[in-house]
Symmetry: C2
């Protein structure tokens, strides 16, 4: 059975990367891998080649009970998912702070805004005001289309929803305000090239 956060979102487990960043080569698996996997591979490539240092944060968990059978191991036996208070990814490129959230949808014509939380939008605006580089990455899984949207271009859709408007962004709207991130061999999703274009 699917695991869901308290808000009904599915839990996506962190699957180990199949790439070998140490060898500076990333295997080109089939398209349709999860966005998280693609981004992890991309970030491993950036790290191995000293292009950027960007990591996914761990899933926030409230730990309640731990078994401690022996000194060398501890087993968490009761814990709960916490709602993330920030975004999933952050790091540094050329001294600058990078911060983004990445979301995937199986829809083919629009992106549902309930993939985001208000406090994430608040966090992203805080970062932007502090001079950080902030954006969202939205993947339309079934279309194999991934978009890079600057926070300033994402916020009006969020505001429209707060004002009582539609609770999603149409694919067409996303295309108009975003850069498509092409799938590549290595790195798989070269969002850094778009960062360079927009912010440097």
């Amino acid at each position: 059975m699917a695991i869901r956060y308290p808000n009904g979102k599915k839990y996506q487990p962190n699957t180990p990367s199949t790439s070998t960043a140490q060898n500076k080569s990333v295997s080109y698996g089939k398209r349709g891998m999860s966005l998280e996997q693609d981004l992890n591979d991309t970030n491993a490539y950036y790290l191995a080649n000293k292009l950027a240092v960007i990591h996914k944060k761990p899933t926030p968990v409230q730990i309640v009970g731990v078994d401690y059978p022996k000194r060398s191991s501890a087993k968490i036996k009761e814990a709960y998912f916490k709602t993330p208070s920030t975004t999933d990814y952050n790091g540094v490129y050329n001294g600058k702070y990078i911060d983004f959230e990445a979301k995937e949808t199986k829809n083919t014509s629009s992106f549902p805004l309930n993939n985001f939380h208000q406090h994430q939008l608040t966090h992203m605006e805080d970062v932007r005001e502090q001079g950080g580089i902030v954006f969202v990455i939205i993947s339309f899984h079934r279309l194999s289309e991934v978009y890079f949207t600057r926070l300033e271009h994402f916020q009006p859709f969020w505001q429209r929803m707060l004002d009582g408007g539609r609770k999603s962004i149409t694919l067409q709207e996303i295309r108009e305000v975003s850069d498509q991130i092409p799938y590549g061999l290595n790195p798989r999703l070269d969002y850094l090239s778009i960062i360079k274009k927009h912010y440097f």
Copy 2:
């Protein structure tokens, strides 16, 4: 019984902050609070006053088993601590990427280097090469002394250990290469003032 990581380190639970960042006031508890609590309060103060956006990363956990009794809740029933691959704290000040690790010792004359992992040192050097601002914060709990040490000044002690030298840094050595962070009312540990002095 104390909970320990596989390497024998104690697990420090994330205790909820007692401060009310929304009110832009941070209560001045007794000295001797944990370093993590002091830093969380400090970061909440920075955030509320738009001085910096710096967060502690969640404790990395490998989730193995989850109970899903009803749609509104998920209970993690089997999980394990993972060794952190990065540092605990990062964020942005004035557009610049900030990254640091914070450690506390009950020793009164030296700081044991086994509080750090090699991959954390590797991560910090990667960040430094990418132009980020990297340092460590070391707290001597019983002395109520907290030090800010730039990565470049911390690395030689790590290298000395790798070369077969002592596995700790003496308090005197730390004092010689560090800035002491004075305890304050609000913020409790104003490490940002030292960042400004060193890097801006």
